[in-house]
Symmetry: C2
Subunit: 390 residues, 2 copies
């Protein structure tokens, strides 16, 4: 065999380490093992009834063809309406573009901003795909260490220190994955000002918006009007498998984003777009709010329980469905701990290796995407595992 | 306003010219005008009933979460089964990866093969997104003139002449868009041999497979086993708006494609994957075959009718639903002709400008994605337009 050579980026892009754990978890389950899944980054609820029903109706009505690249006009309006009614914010529907998930939006945003060889600031720890979206367009991911001192958020000060003339963009997430922490209004304003001053694009991933358990988080559309804001129907709206998201871009950039989307995607899923219209009905929003309440209760149970086991979780993770724990007082290597927890305690979690470059061996991510009974079971299993002397 | 600079590729990627015509067509229709649409690259049939029903059932059963990046195992098996039962070909299901449309597959294929600065051979005329997929990864699209002499297909001879040490890949389409012509078995074998000799990747876009009106076309999986084969549920299977396709890659490359897909897409649409399982039932295949027969009848009507009007359509376009006409004996500029046909005859077609660099002003693409009565109406309108003295 002599296959042609693969691109350099094919070698630079890493698979997720959690995949090996997932495969092993499935193997254990296939043999009758019982695993508590705390490694999974999606809500454990299926898409809400009214949204599924709207999807079924769209199919029955034959809404199965391509749509305009920018998305169904009614859906763009509905999202603008949501910014208005939920957050009191005015966002022109013309600036809202429908994408295949936040994933698609992040590809477009980075393709729009980052030339090969330029660098992109990414908070470390952060969402692991971001560095690979940067690799896709041959820009250079630049990990910027963030820690509990800034709520794991990239601050204007950290960004100013890390950027240089080759910096094309910075990508932040609020609420963030894996830490569940929020960017403050001051952070967003400061990053926007830095971006303007240094001609650096700001991409704010708000995919976990809606899933927050304190005050409403600061919104990028309000505090960083030039930012590319990425969002999705995956998490709060519970539509992961439908592959639907959106982005808000400065109006000057709408035609640019649109031509990229025309080429890369043709359009986002048509049944999904019709179904998503139902996300903004009172009935659906009620369901989403009750699910949010369930996540809050889980967090309120899990956070002190893990702390009592010796997991160090700084600050107050106020959003998403993740807790990011420092395990350095419990073990030398979080990857081995994750393996042991899976093999010996039947608890699946994600090692820091997937999220950070700085101290991966010190961290584990717990997702509370399973119900409180199962979380309690996991806590008991972990307690017993430590008691048995790991 | 001082937005940060856009990437160079943002400037290089062009929007489709047909978009302006489409917008104008909609304007005319909004004012009560009647337009025959021959510019649209998707079947005019909604997704077949059994497939829509399977989608509805998937939603009712709550199949709404993420799937493994490589796709639903049963769907990968079903596609392998289709290669076997329809074409007598053995393709390992493990080499079949489910993507968000052929579009997603083409992004993955080029990201896997083309480093910045390397070039990719693209037949000219060809599918316009291809050069922009190449631009996305900052490789250099290299247009290779193809004409009626080779059935508008890139031949091993043309490719050997056009490639150099910086050539990373070649992308061909069979049946092709905009020409509807097929690559022969000898072409595929020759291109595969050239690729092996010169270490150049071969990407074969078979999205219009199934929509052919003569003998079965040569299959890349049979004649070019190292090729990346791109396919889709969009055209023959009538699922454009669902955003679902697949790729077949050499087994060594499965893990590479899979990690790219994990990052770029997470997974392809879940309801779509469940629905697509129904594409391989006898009932659904019967519908697809009767639609294929309708396309054949349209082609058999339209081809001689356009020729009798003075459109020069060489060869025998044996697939897809396009006819690509040389209009140089009818006008100086096909773009103006397309505008005039829209404004004065109420017929929308796509100018060559979207498909080629060499002689765009000499070509028009006609899509027979509307029924024979409407095609006949279009032919009459064009006849009258020419008779009135254009
Ligand atoms: C921070 C973050 N951004 C983006 C995504 C992509 O999600 P999707 O493409 O489903 O919208 C995810 C998924 O887990 C995520 O955690
Ligand atoms: C030749 C060709 N390739 C790929 C595509 C992309 O189609 P999809 O992403 O819907 O599978 C198209 C769509 O028209 C096409 O004509």
């Amino acid at each position: 065999m002599s296959l042609p050579p693969l691109s350099a980026r094919s070698h630079r892009i890493q698979p997720f380490h959690v995949m090996a754990l997932l495969a092993r978890a499935r193997e254990l389950e296939a043999r009758g093992g019982d695993i508590v899944h705390m490694e999974i980054g999606e809500p454990d609820f299926p898409t809400a009834g009214p949204v599924r029903l709207a999807g079924e109706q769209a199919l029955a009505h034959g809404h199965t063809g391509y749509l305009p690249a920018a998305g169904l006009p009614a859906l763009r309006e509905a999202i603008a309406g949501h910014y208005r009614s939920r957050y009191g914010l005015d966002v022109d529907a013309g600036r809202i573009l429908i994408t295949p998930g936040a994933s698609g939006a992040l590809v477009v945003a980075l393709a729009m901003l980052a030339d090969p060889g330029r660098n992109v600031l990414l908070p470390d720890p952060g969402y692991p795909c971001n560095r690979n979206f940067v690799e896709l367009v041959d820009a250079v991911p630049r990990a910027v260490r963030v820690d509990a001192g800034t709520d794991y958020q990239l601050t204007p000060g950290l960004a100013a220190e890390a950027c240089d003339d080759a910096t094309a963009a910075m990508v932040i997430g609020s609420p963030g994955n894996p830490t569940g922490t929020l960017a403050s209004a001051a952070d967003l304003q400061g990053l926007a000002a830095l971006g303007r001053r240094r001609h650096i694009g700001l991409i704010v991933d708000e995919i976990y918006h809606g899933l927050h358990y304190g005050e409403d988080p600061a919104q990028a559309v309000a505090h960083a009007p030039d930012a590319v804001v990425v969002n999705s129907f995956s998490k709060y709206f519970g539509m992961t498998g439908w592959r639907l998201g959106w982005m808000v871009v400065p109006s000057e950039w709408v035609p640019v984003a649109e031509k990229l989307m025309q080429n890369l995607f043709i359009s986002a899923s048509t049944p999904a777009q019709h179904a998503a219209l139902a996300c903004f009905s009172d009935r659906a929003l009620e369901i989403f709010e009750s699910r949010r309440e369930a996540f809050r209760q889980r967090r309120d149970f899990l956070l002190p329980a893990l702390r009592s086991l010796g997991f160090h979780i700084p600050g107050d993770p106020a959003g998403a469905f993740y807790l990011y724990a420092d395990v350095s007082s419990l073990c030398d290597d979080s990857f081995t701990l994750a393996e042991d927890l899976l093999e010996r305690a039947g608890v699946a979690v994600t090692p820091g290796l997937d999220f950070e470059r700085t101290a991966p061996e010190r961290h584990l991510r717990f997702a509370y995407t399973t119900d409180t009974d199962r979380l309690a079971e996991a806590v008991e299993r972990i307690r017993a595992f430590f008691a048995a002397g790991s």
